[in-house]
Subunit: 260 residues, 4 copies
Amino acid sequence: MTNTQLTHIQIDNYGPWTVTPEPRREMDLQTLQSRLFADLAQFVGNRGGYVFFTRFDNMVAVTNGLDRTDHELLQESVGNRYPVTLSLGVGVDEIPVEALETATAGVQAAGSAQDAERTEVLAGEFHTGQAADDLHIAHFDVDDATGKYTDRLNEFDTFIQIEQGYAALMRYMREEHGALSFFVGGDNIIAVCPELSPATYQAAIDAVEAEVGVELKVGVGTAPSPHEAGFAAKHALEDCRHRGTAVEFAATDSPTLSTD
Amino acid sequence: MTNTQLTHIQIDNYGPWTVTPEPRREMDLQTLQSRLFADLAQFVGNRGGYVFFTRFDNMVAVTNGLDRTDHELLQESVGNRYPVTLSLGVGVDEIPVEALETATAGVQAAGSAQDAERTEVLAGEFHTGQAADDLHIAHFDVDDATGKYTDRLNEFDTFIQIEQGYAALMRYMREEHGALSFFVGGDNIIAVCPELSPATYQAAIDAVEAEVGVELKVGVGTAPSPHEAGFAAKHALEDCRHRGTAVEFAATDSPTLSTD
Amino acid sequence: MTNTQLTHIQIDNYGPWTVTPEPRREMDLQTLQSRLFADLAQFVGNRGGYVFFTRFDNMVAVTNGLDRTDHELLQESVGNRYPVTLSLGVGVDEIPVEALETATAGVQAAGSAQDAERTEVLAGEFHTGQAADDLHIAHFDVDDATGKYTDRLNEFDTFIQIEQGYAALMRYMREEHGALSFFVGGDNIIAVCPELSPATYQAAIDAVEAEVGVELKVGVGTAPSPHEAGFAAKHALEDCRHRGTAVEFAATDSPTLSTD
Amino acid sequence: MTNTQLTHIQIDNYGPWTVTPEPRREMDLQTLQSRLFADLAQFVGNRGGYVFFTRFDNMVAVTNGLDRTDHELLQESVGNRYPVTLSLGVGVDEIPVEALETATAGVQAAGSAQDAERTEVLAGEFHTGQAADDLHIAHFDVDDATGKYTDRLNEFDTFIQIEQGYAALMRYMREEHGALSFFVGGDNIIAVCPELSPATYQAAIDAVEAEVGVELKVGVGTAPSPHEAGFAAKHALEDCRHRGTAVEFAATDSPTLSTD
């Protein structure tokens, strides 16, 4: 059974901070946001988790394998090195969006995102134990994006195509399956999913193509940790590339699962 | 007259690199991408320019004030510190998308984004001189995003709302005005525009609300450099906040233009 | 009994790389080196270890609590994100310099630091289990450095004083006790030590003052991990400050040991 | 005539901050310090300057080519992105230590390094204009450090040798010539010097060998900017390597001076 542990990461009172005492240089804010995300990617990532930049002031992480002590350490370390602090809400559920619902609710219950008094909240429960099918990660990309778009259109028009594909997929997967899909750069989208069949993934790809004309393919992995599931998904996506297929599932007894 | 100098920044042969010899850890790729963007934000930003992460492997920068030597230095410095290299194409035009068309074409003419032999291209022409109306920057945000979304919905459903607003605006501004709009985190979108009237901005806001129900407001600034224009736009957006208006233009003789 | 696990971190073939095909910009090298150290500080540090910059191309880490898998992950992650790779040698001993002797020997046995064919060595044995007295960390600082030097002398002459104190202490502790002392910025020196008495630390302080006239004080902590021992040492150093003493040992049942 | 512009960079009230409300994790402090230094290396370095980490909480930069506006922008950008702020003092002189004397005095006059009320001082005068002989940079390294030390001794004992060589050189150059020498990692030392003859450099090398038995060699460059002078010095040091000599001066009409 799927057990997705999601952490909602929210910079405390960030909006007001960015304009106090007057608006701060935009490129400094961009630097701060992207470096904070990079630090989270390392901290969470080298413990087997995944984090997505989402809106940068609010991020979503898949944190199976990280316990309360890890979350506390993350808050302490960021608080020691940045001019801002983080609140964290954690939730666990078979359906990713339900886990996030719990995670966000924990943060919201403590106060507004723009409440100067609400800092470094740590709310929620953690998944104990781990099972081989705790995580299902799907790694999508756009079929031949370089040939169809990057090498032909100006970069913004390419970006519009990729963005349209992403917008269609994120809504479809959220509404149909409670799955959370994140753009991770290039033409890549990573989705945190409940257990879904190959036919269901094919239906998602078909829906996106029907809506916006963007052709996707997907590799899917299942494992006890986000990194292992995502790594298996990447290998499965390579299989799509070599076999010319649109949907591939990683063999669950794949050696890539055990060596990482 | 608007003179937008845009630089298309492309990581050379990045897609193949990410899966050679086998797929690399996703969180390492996320770290690499976001730190590279942060470095560009500092380099371009402390010369008065703006850079947007776009797809991370392809980025768009507004580089009025940066000449060929600056671009060469950027390539050298990244090449010295990262396992990847950058190609750069530059274009100048009254209409931003036309400037980008030139910029991208210069990179494309030298070879494919996935051509292992094509590295560190530097193509294009630079804007010489600077005028008070070279740049028009519009800074949009979502009206009361914290109250309507962040404090009420789970973070993914908030993100879907923001994303929908962004997707609608980016297409509208591109198609109607050749303007380039970039999501910069939170509920903020920065658009690089030709000269447009307040009524035109109001029409864009109305179109987004009609299409996806997301209410935007916008501050607009005009200046010789992206930072100055964008900084004036931020102040104008603060004026929207205080006055309860949807569109504000910075006074062109604003002291904020000269002190920075 | 002290069980110090030390890791010798060596950038592979770094010297030749810095001048190939011609000398690289010095400030890019400085950036690369200090950011690599920062990443190691986070990776090792958020697992309870300590890392010291030493010569930057060769660093020394106290890695009790980090096993072979952690070391492999560190090599993989650095290899994914930097233009250089790391070799690691690990040793465990009651006497720190003996542990380092083993650690370095493991790297040396695989080839020269400037052998282009020798990359990503991982040599050595790891400490299994952990005990309350595995680590002894001493945190020294210069008594009233701000009042005596920083606020009075030009920064280089202040630096000469601090440097002299460090040079004297590092040699004394190495020769007398096999302890390894590292300058960590400001007027701070952290030493990885075998078990030593308060009188022994007083003798070290006296020797430094006699040799170069720099007055030190020291807090000493003992714990199962470098961070815990070092954190206790910092608290003990605060005790020196408040009590006006030169040597303080952390109470071994200090609550600071258990809360971190 | 030499015109060295030096900037003393001091983190405001850093010591107290590191222990408030209680001591902060050492590895977070190390990360903060080294990343701040890296950012300064990029900002100063891509304007043709040099910065040295010195004590990390106090750093020394050679800033010919950077004016008051550049220094203000540096303070603003660091203030936007770090939990600490910077004070800067600037001085210009034929003799480097005299320039630093002025630079430090400007900061000291505004208050103590540990005065919580004294923040973001910017004191001093800037060098206007530039001449071909404004800067003299000497790049030293240890002759065959890899063969003699790195590949033979444990890393700490190697470090002691390098450190001894550095300590001897820094004192000699300061006392005899008012030159400032900085360890920059590996076996490299960069000195900011007044105009000195080859025989004078040979005498310095001889003095170090006589005092501590460490054999140095040196390349010297002269140019209008620190980067150009330092780059010429690196090339001259390569000449030492190829010719087996101990002191080489860059040809002043070297093409490397003009292409950068």
